[in-house]
Symmetry: C2
Amino acid sequence: MLYPVNGKIQPFCGKVPVMSAVEAAADRQIARPSGLAEEVYRRIRADIMSLKLPPDTRVSVDSLARELGVSQTPIREALSMLEANGLVSKKHFTGYATAPRMDRAQLDELFEFRLLVEPHAARKAADAMAESDVESLRAVSGDKAPSHDGFADMDTEFHKLIAQGGGNHLIADSLARLHIHVHIFRSCFRSEIAEEAVHEHDEVIAAIRARDGAAAESAMRRHIERSYGRLRDFIKE
Amino acid sequence: MLYPVNGKIQPFCGKVPVMSAVEAAADRQIARPSGLAEEVYRRIRADIMSLKLPPDTRVSVDSLARELGVSQTPIREALSMLEANGLVSKKHFTGYATAPRMDRAQLDELFEFRLLVEPHAARKAADAMAESDVESLRAVSGDKAPSHDGFADMDTEFHKLIAQGGGNHLIADSLARLHIHVHIFRSCFRSEIAEEAVHEHDEVIAAIRARDGAAAESAMRRHIERSYGRLRDFIKE
DNA sequence: GGATCAAATATCCTATAGGATTGGCGGACC
DNA sequence: GGTCCGCCAATCCTATAGGATATTTGATCC
C-alpha cells in the first residue's frame, strides 16, 4: 500500500495507518496494494477532473516524476492507462497531453450513447437494485447542493449508483468512463445548473424507490435530454 | 516507424520499405510512428486473440522483453494499456496474467450490452453509412468462410464496419473492445458455427443495402440473440 | 507419511544514466 | 521583409543495476 506524504507519493514502509470506518468503506477498492502506478493514475485523473490539468495541456513525464517524487516508470504506466481511457493522448517523441475539450460532435456522440444506455440501466435498477443501494441513492438526493463541486460529485455518484444498480459491470464501467468527460466539460463552464438537475434526479429516485421500471427509464431519458440541452448551449460552433 | 524483424521488434533505423497500395491503405492509420509501446501492444493483443497466450496465463515482463528484443519499459506500457482494456490483469508483486475466460455471468452482461447497442448502430448505419463502406460490407459477405480464423476475421470486420457506419466513435470503440472478448471466447471452443452466422450477416447487409433502418435493427437483434444462444451452450455452469 | 517452516529462486518494482528525436529560436540569405 | 537553415534545449525512449516481494522447493519435525 502506498500513501501520499505531503504532496509526494512514497513507497509503503511501515504499518497501515488507522482509518475511519467511512474512509475504509470509501477506499475499500483502493485498499489492495496495487503499486505506485495505480496511485499515480488516480492522482493524475483527479488533477484532470479538477481542471488542475486543463484540457489540451502538455504533461511532461519527468516533471510529474519530480513533483510526485517517484521514478518515471510508474508515471509512464499511469499515462499509458490514461491514454487507453481517452484522457490523454501521446504523440511520438513529443510527449503526452490532456485530451482537448469536447467539441460539438463529440458531445452529440456522448449523449447519443448515454441516451441509449442509461435509461435502460435505470429500468433495470428499478427492478434489481439492492435495498441498501436505494438508501445510498437517497443520500445523494437533492437536499442541498452546496457548491459546484458538491453538485458535480453528487451527480457522479447518482449516475454511478444507478449504473451499478442495473447489475451489469460493462455498462457501469462504460458510463463511468464517459461521465468523466461530462464532468470535465461541465467544469469548464462552471454552470450553475444544480437546481433543475437535482429536481430531475429526484424524479428518477422516486421512480426507483417505487420499483417502477418504466417510470425510471422515462425519467432518466428526460433528465439526460435536458442535461444535453443545457450543455449544448455552451458550444456555438 | 518500427518494424518487426524476424520475430523481434527493432527501432526504426533506415528507409521506409516499399509497400503495396493495398497495404498502404490498410495500414494507413498505423503508418504514423507511435513508438515501440504501441507496436508491442498490438503484438501482445494479437497473441491473446490467437490464443497463443491462452486465458488465465501468466505473462512475464522480462520474458517478453527478451523474446521481442526490447527493453522492459515498452512492455510495461503495453501491458498497462492492455490492463486498461481488460485483456490482462495485474497483481502487485506477482505479475501480469491474461484475463480468465468469460464465465456465464460475464457472457450474459456482454450480450445484454451488445443487444442494447448494436441494433441501434445497425439502424443508424442503414441511414448514414457511406456508399463505399456498404461496398466494403459486401466484401465480408458470406461468399465463403474458408477456416475458423477466416470466419472470425470476417465477423470482426462485419461488426466493426456497421458500428463505424453508425457514425458514433464511442459506440464503435466500445463494441470493438467487447468484440475482442467474444472473439477469444469463441476461439476457445473452435465452434463451427459459420453457416448460420453468415446467413444472418447477409440479412443485415441486405437491409442496410436497402437503406431499411428498421429491418437492419431487427435483423441485427436477431443475429445477436442467436449468436448468444449458440455461445451460451458452451457454458454449463 | 503429512505438515510446517525456512531458504532459494524467479519475478516484479524502482531508480538512474545515456542515446535519439522533435520543436522552437536566432541568424543568415534571398 | 520573408524564408530557409542550423543550433540548442527539452523531452522522450531505452538500457541496466539494485531492492523488495511472492512463490516454490526442500528439509526437518511430529
